[in-house]
Symmetry: C2
Subunit: 350 residues, 2 copies
């Protein structure tokens, strides 16, 4: 990069010292009005843009915040990112994001997660990030321990690490499972299939725990089914395997619930059920997902019952906790945000 005008060039052109130029930028109230004006005019003329590297060197910290998200195809993380970015902007801080490319498929398949979470942790540590939000789908402890002293506040979002030495922002995943069961129990349904991925994925494990607890409490019999991925086509395949049993029950006048860990799975179930002459939604089968997609797709001819996840609030809260860390007697917090049901036609009929 060709050398751009530096603070010395501005000082020379304005006939002041470099310290005065620096003060014009950082403490303008210290300058005589005429001096300030002359310096600012010179900055404009020269097209001077301060390099943040100098300040970062001195402070051993930059003032930008950084956010690592696992996967932008997941609307939860898009919501978290927006909540974080807008809250940061409102506080006058910039936030940049990195996508670590995490795929829950790896975990489900038992493969080592092939993401770049630790690479980005290192990258932001070298940049002396002024605060880091780590949105994790797997335990980030080892990666964070490595950079702990080089990045000021760290907040972990969406992963509950045992013995965490940082603030954590979570949603109440057990409540997700409980609410789903309570909803169908309220409809008088006593038999359900619960389609999820293996418990190596922490939110899946916690939702299952909540689901089982509510099922026992409400007297709902639940058959658990494993999905290999959270896609509509997997949802279709699994449902195809269940229609026989569902139709048998329907002929006996019994309703069945299909509870899917993700809306994408649930969406895949719909066409399979509609294609079956004996199965009406929601009279014979009710369907619900559990990660209500905020995205404005208005995705169906029938609205899908789902659970609204507090992604935006999680991101916003994480940024607030970053700011709270500058308070000297701050103690790390573990916040668990509530979820709520969004009833739709696939369970209530409208």
């Amino acid at each position: 990069m060709a050398r751009t005008p530096n603070i010395g060039a501005v000082a020379r052109a304005a006939g002041v010292s470099v310290g005065t130029v620096s003060n014009a930028l950082n403490s303008p109230e210290r300058l005589a009005p005429e001096t300030l004006e002359r310096v600012l005019d010179t900055i404009d003329e020269l097209g001077y843009i301060r390099s943040s590297a100098g300040r970062t060197l001195i402070r051993n910290a930059s003032d930008g915040l950084s956010l690592i998200v696992p996967d932008l195809d997941n609307s939860l993380f898009v919501d978290i990112a927006r909540g974080a970015q807008l809250t940061a902007a409102a506080a006058g801080r910039r936030l940049v994001m990195a996508n670590s490319g995490f795929s829950s498929r790896d975990l489900v398949a038992g493969a080592a997660p092939h993401d770049t979470q630790d690479e980005f942790l290192g990258y932001f540590a070298e940049a002396r990030s002024g605060g880091m939000l780590v949105c994790a789908m797997r335990d980030p402890t080892s990666g964070i321990d490595r950079i702990r002293n080089h990045v000021r506040p760290i907040v972990v979002v969406n992963y509950d690490a045992p013995g965490a030495d940082w603030c954590t922002v979570l949603m109440d995943n057990a409540q997700v499972g409980r609410i789903a069961v309570d909803h169908i129990a309220d409809l008088g349904i006593t038999q359900a299939f619960y389609v999820s991925i293996p418990d190596v994925v922490q939110p899946a494990a916690e939702r299952r725990t909540g689901m089982r607890e509510a099922a026992a409490r409400r007297g709902v019999t639940v058959t658990e089914v494993d999905a290999a991925a959270l896609t509509a086509s997997v949802g279709s395949d699994i449902t195809t395997g269940l229609v026989g049993a569902l139709a048998d029950r329907a002929r006996r006048g019994e309703r069945t619930a299909l509870l899917f860990l993700a809306d994408d799975l649930a969406i895949g179930a719909i066409p399979v059920l509609r294609a079956h002459p004996d199965l009406q939604i929601p009279d014979d089968v009710v369907v619900m997902g559990m990660d209500g997609d905020h995205r404005p797709t208005g995705n169906d001819w029938m609205t899908m019952t789902s659970i609204e996840l507090p992604g935006y609030e999680m991101g916003a809260e994480a940024v607030r906790l970053i700011s709270a860390e500058s308070d000297p007697d701050h103690a790390h917090e573990r916040e668990v945000l509530p979820v709520r049901i969004r009833p739709g036609a696939t369970t209530t009929g409208r």
Copy 2:
């Protein structure tokens, strides 16, 4: 931030000079194997992490790439971001993103765009970004001119600025409009409604141009309708206003096409049409969107005909162009990537 161990601390502990520690990190082949090992061990023991600020100061450039996207709720930009980030990672470079919070609603409403594009341009210029991808929905020229000399290569994605002094990566928006009309003309349809937003949004303007050209060529009569936003509910409202005319035509045995600038609009049309007893899809009315959502929602009980946009390729190509800029006799390029139709049940019946 408490002072972390610096290169001097490592040098002292390893009994070498700071230059040698630097070489261990940047040119390890220059060191005697034993020296190298001793230095690396010391780095490990001390938990030393290099600060990139020093190098940025010297080079007047950092090695990270940065990407500004207008809006993560738009799947096009999520695709671009993924294409860019994976291509960068494959080339051993890190890429960070910023969301400028652009809303096309502002433009459509005639309001000044209230985004943070220029703020982030300035932020990345202060960080001496090693390369910048600017995904723009409005003309970025003034913002870029301001930072032109402080950021090495700049590539603009998705905005065709007149007289651009940089590489540009575009999709063929005129082709989007042409393909849509050709598709319905191939089905023998001669009457269509075209629902778009005003031409202040550049892609909308270009698609309209392509649409008109194809309509003239194929003898299709098109009635143009203005939408205030690209949402399903706006699509529903507009369609509600059209069902009378559509039903009249259906009773005369004439098919009509509804072409929507965005899939979200088109999705909103579906339930309105289904609710009308005289209108069958696709026998009386065919429906298509024009920004095929890559996201894995499997969004409907009937697949929506749409146009596949080359978002991933645009992001990947933009990163390749960034690298190409380091070639001394590089000339700025303007690349226009093709689009293609994805036929679905809403026009072909399956």
